[in-house]
């Protein structure tokens, strides 16, 4: 059986199955012959390719070595051309990216737009690029539609790709474009081919029926076969929007080619047009240089500003993006490596290209070049002998042995016997599947059959290990010189840490900032990156950045290499990370749903990460605006926490408060005073929010009053509040007590009444909740809260108390920082510390009241001083309107012998005070 007989059978079978009748079949077959003939007869040499196909790459290399074209037209977005020069600084696979956030001409909300075109080494397009860029006098022209047109022509339903961000997803939610997309256009045809080809997935079908037979084929055969497949898929395809889009692209490409030929005056005989096999057999009227179709006008691009860059890519990302089977791109890479070694072919590589191993001398003499003088094309299609030699067997044996070793390292109980079994099974499977030699897919199946048992002992199963063995997932890296300025800046600034930014593993950085103060800028940068990069890219293990703290030591887990794409994409936003952060913060506070809390958080971030007061002030002013415009008090707790922290920071570090802080406090005082009565009655506003409002009003009171606010406003607000809920009622009582509108004795009496009233007892815990929340705004009330809690625990029946306990515990846990320390400190002061004391302990509120008038000090230096100089006291008393008398029995200094003795021995101090007072 000839190499191509199987492929021919497959295609013929598919054509028969989908033609829908004998007439249609003959029409299709005639059409196929026409298509192929037209493509091959075209004056401009067309090179049909398929994506990630080593056979295409091999044919391309041979073709370029054989006859060197002067101009290469490539099916790739035309605006990506400048990026190609940067490829030599990268380790493939990388993806060319066009990115736009500021959209014009696209529906709002559809951004950011991103197009990626991944490139691997085992591809025909890379061979063409490498040849064209490194050969003097050769021009490379990209002719496909620009990134802007990709989105303009995108069918609407595809315009919003579902972003499924996961670990291996290096491309994000970008739209992928690739050279030579060749795949059945409808599911039935693909399924038909898979079923009849007795394979599992498309990549395997392609490998078995096209890739392997074409690997050793001559150029003409290659072109014929590819054009044939392209033609079949085109003719059997469903048409519709997708075909219309393809035809549009073809018109675009041919128009660009014609334009270039006209301008440059190049001889079409020295040019090569590299495009997907699907486009090679295009039927648009613009096809061919001799076409006399009316001039095609390319629609203008929108005004969207596109930015370009390179991002790292990987085999698995390519597979995921283009729906290829897992591991297929890796297998293609392995096949390419094998084919170049075996064929003694030197592939083109960009000078200075990183990451590729230097080629070893071919182990075998070159296989004689396929007969060029095949005149009869059809027989050329059928006669090439299958390549079978000892090398395949040795390779398979090597795989088996390596796999067993790998499996053992991953916890499998695999032995040499398994290696033998895998080898044998691979050959048997290949025989059963009608293959001349075991493909990597057969090997993988055999390995799973022989080694995989009922459980996977480690993290990776045998299928995954096979993929690793066959080259694994190769991940590209964009070289330093090809990075945008921001990324280069980041790399430069992280250099003092001595880490390798290219490593994809996690690296630990230890920063002893006290010993090495020069690392402080690194630490600053890391904190900024932490704000900007996705979770896991930079992660502090030890150390924190908070207002009022100075870092001493920090340790970080860095995975910069793995998140290179994110850093590159940051580069589209600005020139330095600080600039990007500034923009983001500014954007954050301008968002329609932003509140004062968000703005204060932004101020805090600006102080922490950007330094400089100007920007923080700008954000602060925005916070004032936002607060004044707020109609709800939902984020009052957040606002309170943050403004307290900021005030403390400014008081500690600056001579005076910034103007915006003062404005914020006065605006907040007025704002919360106004909203307080509503908040007390509003059912949607929680106790916590009201507590926070009170906290703001009372703890900022002195500052607000000094800035011109009026206390009457607060008193009025509290008087106007008439809450219904018990918890808010308790809060209100607490506020009244604080304002002096309600005495503590009265408050205590009220609580006792509640506890004594059996009708109210079930709702008493709600009052308690209110009092607990009052701890934050009124810390002075803590002894009372402890008292009420103790009484409740003592007196409430279990059926009331127990259901409420979880609420208490969760509340305390949620607001542990604000509530717990006050409560614990007070409880510690109230309750006895040891068991022995407990026996005699009486709760402070149950102790018999001491005599109302505290014993007046009968002696001592203070009394002596006051008695000696009564004028000041009298003046104060007169001002306050108190009438009092000095006790007659003034105590003489001599009454306290110790003091007298001290004063006699050291008269200087007393003398000085006396001099001051009298002088």
């Amino acid at each position: 059986m000839s190499t191509f007989a199987a492929l021919r059978g497959q295609l013929l079978d598919a054509a028969t199955a989908f033609a829908g009748g004998p007439d249609a079949l003959s029409e299709i077959l005639a059409g196929l012959v026409d298509d192929v003939d037209r493509a091959l007869r075209e004056e401009l040499e067309i090179f049909p390719v398929c994506h990630h196909s080593p056979a295409s790459a091999l044919a391309m290399t041979r073709r370029l070595r054989d006859r060197q074209p002067k101009v290469i037209y490539l099916e790739l977005c035309e605006d990506l051309r400048p990026l190609l020069e940067e490829l030599r600084n990268c380790r493939l696979p990388v993806a060319l990216q066009a990115f736009a956030t500021e959209l014009e001409g696209f529906p709002p909300g559809s951004g950011p737009l991103s197009v990626v075109a991944p490139l691997t080494e085992a591809s025909a397009e890379y061979q063409a690029i490498a040849y064209a860029l490194d050969t003097p006098g050769v021009e490379l022209v990209l002719v496909d539609r620009s990134a802007d047109h990709v989105f303009q022509w995108l069918p609407q339903e595809e315009a919003e790709p579902v972003a499924a961000e996961h670990d291996g997803d290096l491309h994000g939610d970008a739209v992928g474009v690739e050279v030579g997309d060749l795949r059945p256009r409808f599911a039935e045809l693909e399924e038909h081919l898979l079923r009849h080809g007795k394979v599992r997935h498309w990549s395997e079908w392609w490998d078995q029926y096209v890739e392997q037979p074409l690997a050793g084929a001559d150029y003409d055969t290659y072109r014929q076969a590819m054009a044939l497949i392209g033609s079949l898929f085109r003719r059997l395809g469903p048409g519709g929007e997708r075909l219309a889009g393809d035809e549009e692209r073809e018109r675009h490409m041919w128009t660009r080619i014609r334009e270039h030929l006209a301008v440059s005056g190049a001889d079409p005989a020295t040019c090569l047009y590299v495009c997907g096999a699907f486009h090679a057999v295009s039927t648009v009227p613009e096809f061919g240089l001799a076409a006399d179709a009316p001039a095609y006008t390319i629609t203008p691009a929108t005004a969207t500003r596109w930015l370009y860059g390179l991002i790292p890519s990987s085999h698995s990302a390519i597979e995921a993006q283009f729906g290829l089977a897992q591991g297929s791109v890796s297998i293609a890479a392995a096949t390419w490596a094998k084919a170049t070694t075996r064929g003694g072919l030197t592939p083109y590589r960009l000078r200075g290209q990183r990451g590729t191993r230097s080629r070893t001398t071919p182990v075998r003499a070159a296989v004689p070049a396929p007969a060029e003088q095949v005149t009869d094309r059809l027989s050329g299609f059928l006669v090439t002998p299958p390549v079978l030699d000892g090398l395949d067997e040795a390779e398979l044996r090597g795989w088996c042995v390596d796999l067993v070793r790998l499996a053992r390292r991953n916890g499998y109980l695999a032995s040499t016997a398994d290696a033998i079994a895998v080898f044998e099974t691979s050959i048997l499977l290949a025989g059963l599947r009608n293959r001349a030699r075991p493909t990597p897919y057969d090997f993988q199946d055999a390995a799973v059959t022989c080694i995989e048992k009922d459980v996977v002992p480690g993290r990776r199963d045998i299928r995954r290990l096979c993929e690793i063995l066959l080259g694994g997932d190769r991940i590209g890296e964009v070289g330093y010189d090809a990075l945008p300025p921001l990324a280069r800046d980041v790399y430069d600034r992280l250099e003092p840490l001595g880490l390798d930014p290219g490593r994809r593993t996690q690296q630990r950085a230890l920063l002893d900032l006290r010993a090495d103060p020069e690392l402080v800028p690194c630490s600053d940068l890391l904190w900024v990156l932490r704000q900007l990069l996705p979770e896991g890219a930079v992660r502090p293990i030890m150390g924190a950045r908070r207002l009022g703290e100075r870092p001493i030591q920090e340790s970080w887990d860095l995975a910069i290499g793995r998140h290179q794409r994110s850093i590159v994409e940051l580069g589209y936003e600005g020139v330095t990370v600080e600039q990007v952060l500034e923009q983001r913060l500014r954007r954050k506070v301008r968002e329609p749903q932003a509140g004062a809390g968000v703005a204060l958080a932004a101020v805090e971030d600006a102080i922490l990460y950007l330094g400089g007061r100007r920007f923080a002030d700008e954000l602060g002013n925005r916070a004032v605006e936002l607060l004044a415009a707020e109609r709800t008090v939902d984020d009052a707790p957040e606002v309170l926490r943050r403004i307290r922290r900021l005030l403390a920071h400014y008081r500690a570090t600056q001579p005076g408060l910034p103007a915006w802080c003062e404005a914020f406090v006065t605006a907040g005082y007025a704002h919360y005073c106004t909203l307080l009565p509503t908040a007390f009655v509003d059912e949607d506003t929680g106790v916590r929010q009201v507590g926070a409002m009170l906290g703001f009003l009372f703890s900022m009171e002195s500052l607000a009053l000094s800035l011109g606010c009026d206390r009457v406003q607060l008193e009025l607000a509290v008087r106007q509040a008439h809450p219904q809920e018990p918890a808010k009622m308790a809060l209100l009582w607490a506020a009244q007590t604080q304002l002096g509108l309600l005495s503590q004795a009265r408050l205590r009496a009220r609580c006792d009444e509640l506890l004594a009233n059996p009708l109210v007892i079930p709702s008493f815990p709600l009052y308690l909740s209110g009092f607990v929340q009052a701890l934050e705004p009124f810390p002075a009330l803590a002894p009372f809260v402890v008292e009420v809690l103790s009484k409740a625990f003592a007196r409430l029946p279990d059926e009331v108390l127990l259901p409420w306990l979880p609420t208490l515990i969760t509340t305390l846990r949620r607001h542990a920082l604000e509530l717990v320390p006050v409560l614990v400190r007070e409880a510690g002061r109230t309750f006895p510390a040891s068991l022995a004391e407990l026996d005699e302990w009486v709760a402070p509120w149950e102790r018999p009241a001491l005599s109302a008038v505290p014993a007046r000090p009968t002696g001592g230096p203070v009394a002596g001083l006051l008695a000696g100089h009564p004028q000041a006291c009298d003046a104060v008393a007169a001002l306050l309107g108190c009438v009092g008398e000095w006790p007659t029995s003034a105590v003489s200094i001599a009454a306290a012998p110790a003091v007298g003795e001290l004063l006699t021995r050291h008269p200087a101090a007393t003398g000085a005070v006396a001099a001051l007072l009298t002088g």
Binding site: L428, G431, L432, D454
Partner: protein, 371 residues
């Protein structure tokens, strides 16, 4: 002969097809195989037009092609084949088909149970004959496995993990040395396996941990895991195939309306989804909801309508049969079914009407009878 058996083994049932395949088979055959590996695959998975055969071979086992290929290749190699999977995934059926295609004998099997002993795997003695004539090959009763060795054919071991470890270990020497020695005899005391001998064992993945295989035995088996069928199309195909066979066996002439098949498949799919999202065992039906279970439900309904109904399969009967087959534990299973009936079937019957309404009614009645 087929007519005299309640259930004919595959080699009898498909004897004519196997004969024909053997006559046209020109591929290389390993050992004493009756068919080449490609023909075995074709017998199990059915023929395609591209195979270029004169007659069509129907598909008999529904599942991924690579499982069958891997199984065949394993049998052609030195190792035994262990089919592992959830109950009702068609392991035993695949084993039977393979044995029938390869050596025309699928009946040399041992059923693994807690009571299986080493004698069942190796040999035992005809006690009266031993007393009368002493120990000899004549008074020895060879096990099915030993017979398979002697004949160079495939032996089967069902539910390998149900038998105890010492019994399992008896297989190790059989699979590696390929002979059984009979120390009781002085001469002719070794039975060597002829070429072509291999073992197909099946194991239930739900029984894992009961009698785990030793690593020595694991090494001697290639594992092929058969997953539960999740594709609706192939599941419909399996149910139709097996039910037709059952109808033929019971000599019942009854139509299986496609809408009812859809209802059955849909309700199983719903229940599986519910089981997958359940957090505790109590929220799951005890049944594994396998394809075999579906066939059981359908068979139940068919028999019921044939003997107690009007010889037409109705949705109402199907609903009753589904509840009857799946409600094993009261109240847990009944509660789940009740929830399903009210939460899913009822809205659906309101929306789609037709057979679903009858199905709803039948299920409701069955639930109220059982609870």
């Amino acid at each position: 002969m087929t007519n005299e058996m309640l259930r004919a083994p595959a080699e009898v049932k498909y004897a004519e097809e196997l004969d024909w395949l053997e006559s046209v088979d020109d591929g290389p055959k390993p050992f004493s195989w009756r068919l080449s590996p490609r023909m075995v695959r074709l017998f199990v998975l059915g023929s395609e037009r591209s195979d270029g055969l004169e007659r069509e071979i129907p598909q008999k086992w529904f599942g991924e092609r690579s499982f069958v290929e891997r199984s065949i290749v394993t049998l052609a190699s030195d190792r035994g084949l262990l089919l592992i999977g959830d109950p009702g995934t068609g392991k035993s059926w695949l084993a039977e088909l393979l044995a029938a295609a390869i050596c025309r004998n699928s009946t040399l099997g041992v059923q693994g149970t807690a009571g299986t002993t080493e004698d069942h795997i190796k040999y035992s003695w005809n006690v009266s004959m031993v007393i009368a004539k002493g120990q000899s090959r004549a008074s020895m009763i060879p096990s099915p496995i030993m017979t398979a060795m002697e004949q160079g054919v495939i032996g089967r071991f069902e539910e390998l993990t149900r038998s105890t470890s010492d019994v399992q270990d008896a297989l190790i020497s059989i699979l590696s040395e390929k002979y059984i020695s009979i120390p009781e005899l002085d001469t002719d005391n070794i039975v060597f396996a002829k070429p072509g001998f291999s073992v197909i064992a099946t194991a239930n993945s739900r029984d894992r941990g009961v009698n785990d295989l030793s690593s020595a035995l694991k090494r001697r088996f290639n594992f092929v895991r058969i997953p539960v069928v999740t594709s609706k199309a192939s599941e419909a195909e399996i149910v139709r195939f097996r039910t037709t066979e059952l109808l033929r066996r019971h000599r019942i002439e009854l139509d299986l309306p496609p809408t009812l098949l859809d209802i059955l498949l849909q309700s199983f799919a719903d229940l599986r989804a519910a089981a997958a999202s359940a957090t505790s065992e109590d929220e799951k039906l005890e049944s594994a909801l396998s394809t075999a279970e579906q066939i059981g439900v359908l068979e139940d309904a068919i028999l019921h309508s044939n003997f107690f109904g009007d010889r037409t399969l109705r949705a109402q009967t199907l609903g009753g049969a589904l509840v009857g087959s799946l409600a094993r534990r009261t109240p847990e299973d009944l509660a789940i079914l009740n929830k399903y009936w009210h939460g899913v079937v009822e809205p659906r019957s309101k929306k789609e009407g037709g057979e679903w309404t009858d199905f709803l009614e039948g299920g409701r009645q069955a639930i109220s009878t059982l609870s």
